[in-house]
Amino acid sequence: MSTLTAAHGLSALAAAAPADRIPAPHIEYAQLAPTLIVVGAAVLGVLVEAFVPRRSRYHVQVFLAVAALAAAFAAVVGLAAGGYASDKARIAAMGAIAVDGPALFLQGTILLASVVAVLTFAERRLDPAAHGNRVDSFAAQAASVPGSESEKAAVKAGFTTTEVFPLALFAIAGMLVFPAANDLLTLFVALEVFSLPLYLLCAVARRQRLMSQEAAVKYFLLGAFSSAFLLFGIALLYGYAGSVSYAVIADVVDGTVQTVDPALADTMGNDALLLIGGALILTGLLFKVGAVPFHMWTPDVYQGAPTPVTGFMAAATKVAAFGALLRLLYVVLPGLRWDWRPVMWGVAIVTMLAGAVIAVTQTDVKRLLAYSSIAHAGFILAGVIATSAQGIQSVLFYLAAYSFVTIGAFAVVTLVRDAGGEATHLSKWAGLGRRSPLTAAVFAVFLLAFAGIPLTSGFAGKFAVFKAAAEGGAGALVVVGVISSAIAAFFYIRVIVLMFFSEPKADGPTVAVPSPLTMTTIAVGVAVTLVLGLAPQYFLDLAGQASTFVR
């Protein structure tokens, strides 16, 4: 009885309050369509898991994922064509999401990269069929203990983890929001939305499951750690500005807001909060980017995760995280430029050098690519530091170029196999060029692009960021950049030497013949690498038009 009264009283209270006190949020559904489509498909994917019979789930999921990503990309193109990338750029969803050039460009990049990455998720021809069932890179049943009876039973029954598709879609949805987030809370929510599915995806490798689970735990712990940094930074910035909105914080930093929130009268405008809060948020983002000294998780996670997931993560996460970093530095903290630039200089230099130097000693292909991705994060940071429209343009271009090379390279890694699954130890790659010249040549193209050899997309991207950095007065950074490029070239070349100039070993790995899915991924990777290397102008224009943040 008393509860009823209480409930009644509550509703009476709500009814008593004037309706205009809590306005219904105004949401521009059309402008958020790319994200909404992906989220919707992810939810549908979960329902598919629940209701569609096991044998047809795989096909439904693959179709759903690819169709949703394609539709979302079409929505991005539509928005960009409708002028939202330039003059109609605006802040949507009550100030939470920015719809502007950088956001749309990065969302387009993430979606395209995701399409090709999802194709490698769906690959089922690499491993020999188990008990008459085609298998993919993912565990039969992630919940069963590795090596246990339940695992064997799951394999025998032909179970597959089709949950990876909705998980990937959720991650992609988070990534789409991350670079578009226009307040700190949305930023945090997006971070968690894309991180949690990734932790899971890392843990579900079919082969070497213990390593995969170890990688997932490491990723989760360090990821949680970085989330904590980010959240703490958000709290401090809120204390400083009295708001989590990017625009308001930027105004407070610039000193244009004079009204002080009475509840925060003691702290508002306190520079210590701003500096510490900004630094903590940057720390959280640099974690995701994989910049030194926050890079420790990268090699372990890249090595342990199922290779298709590694490729997806290495490309899409980097794009999303750099997008968020750019927006934070260019929209929220431009007034603090003279404080963060020296720090970011240091981070960029250390990242470039450490990534390149440590990579030299690696003996595992996936770890090698992990350290190379760290070095590349350093190169991209050089463009971020430029603090100019050219800087944004160069970073956008670099991210687009880099993602396709990365996904392509990891897709090639999935093909080289021996009895234990993928043969990732470098010694096993000896003489690959003799056994399968085409595979080795394709991988060589990707390595040359990583090394930034002219006529590949890697060179165009590197040139763009270094040019932007030099124009921004960071000549020393460019010199460090070319030195670490020279060091990095050494280990890329070493792999090429191994593939082409070493004698093949008798018990060497074989190159699996993939289905058209992986072939498409690799072909797209090669095509993008060469097109962006030979004729980058169109894409530079695109990135240039997209290089203005809405405030």
């Binding site: 343009q393 003799r434 399968s436 010249p437 040359l448 050899i453 002219p454 006529l455 060179f459 165009a460 040139f463 763009a464 270094f466 040019k467 030099a470 124009e471 000549g475 460019v478 010199v479 950049g481 070319v482 030195i483 490029s485 020279a486 070239a489 050494f490 070349i493 070493r494 030497v497 082409f500 100039f501 070493s502 004698e503 004729a535 980058p536 102008q537 530079l540 224009d541 240039g544």
Partner: protein, 533 residues
Amino acid sequence: MSFPLLTVTAVVPAVGAVLTAAVPAARRTAAKWLALLFSLATLALAVLVAVRFEPGGARYQLTESHAWIPDFGVRYELGVDGIGVALIALTALLIPFVIAAGWHDADPLETNSSRWRPTQGFFALILLVEAMVVISFEATDVFLFYVFFEAMLIPMYFLIGGFGDRAHSGSDENAAAQRSYAAVKFLLYNLAGGLIMLAAVIGLYVVAGNFSLQEITAARAAGTLDMATNTERLLFLGFFFAFAVKAPLWPLHTWLPNAMGESTAPVAVLITAVVDKVGTFAMLRFCLGLFPDASKWATPVILVLALISIVYGALLAVGQRDIKRLVAYASISHFGFIILGIFAMTSQGQSGATLYMVNHGLSTAALMLVAGFLISRRGSRLIADYGGVQKVAPVLAGTFLIGGLATLSLPGLAPFVSEFLVLVGTYARYPVVGIIATVGIVLAALYTLVLYQRTMTGPVKEEVRAMPDLHLREMLVVAPLIALLIGLGVYPKVLTDIVNPAVEYTMSDVKRTDPKPEVAVEAVPAKNGEAAK
């Protein structure tokens, strides 16, 4: 729009490379003929370029200009001056010989693998290198030049590492390891040089706002583009470093003996006679053109380094036991002469240097290819393994001798003219340097003649007793080269006419005039007051 002759000259070998690579594994011979055909077509185009080029005309001719990457300020701009014409002709001329000489170098040892196609790859890579070298000689956009300057390393690297000399001492595995060491060393040296140049290229853009050689040179000459002294010097050093690695100049030369020693003779010719020329060519075109003041500032140091190259390279050549490494060190000595001629900043020196590039290409090709034939017969690169060859293979010995004599610049053969010009040009401005450089000539006589004496004369060694003489294909390779060496030695005017106007432009870039001969200086003022200023 006129016919894009320069583009076509570079595209034809590239197309040839693609087609050659696509030939099925079993049709090896077809691939060879296809490659030869395309190299001859390129030669015909290069001749056409030389014919259409008017020595007295504009500085850059047959120009083409298209937008490429406006965002980077990059245009696809081609144009040749006399120096470019000469070097394109040299490149196009040598490639057919390289292909013919390497006819059997890349035949697979075992025919069991159907998908491994080394022969097709070998010839395709040679043509690809040719295409990239030609376009580097044509590019008048710094970025365009840089792209191909860097990109040509990759096919070169595969040529060195993938197709080693079959005449090696020790086990196959050991030879493979040495070969891949040589290839990696080649690539890392050149890549490091190239990346440092990249920083300078970006710096140049920040200063100048575009990459057009002609625009920047013109702006520099008109004084509308100011560079701070230090900026210019740093940029100059960035460019020069890359070219000095490529050329190669002491102390950046150590990759060359490895690369030339481990690769097959035709590839060694490709490295030293063709690809390395891009380095010295670029010094003339880019270092002097873009950074005249810094070039003058750096001259003393560069001259000293060039002198060291000349003497050091020659001394090491004297001490070599390996024929191919001997030729490599001799080349280092010769590159010293070329760089000396360029930085003496006299028209004689620079004309001489340009001729030297061409003649060194011809003489080294002759010597190295014959040496390759010799080595393939005996299966050894060591000088000590030979003796008395002239008795069993007189034609081989005779051509070897002519190649050697050309290397030591015997009067009557082409290299004499260029070496003489370089020395005269250097002496006119830096007498002491000129005198020291002549030591190189003496040492050249020593290493070539000792090489000849040890391998060709003396008692016939047991292992060479059954050595066959040059057969038809090999003679066809060597005879035209020797004819050219003699022809250009007797009548160098065909080359100097093309080269001299270009050199005059370069001299005006650096605002240098030739020092007047000392004897004349006393006589002239009395007769004619005008000449005194």
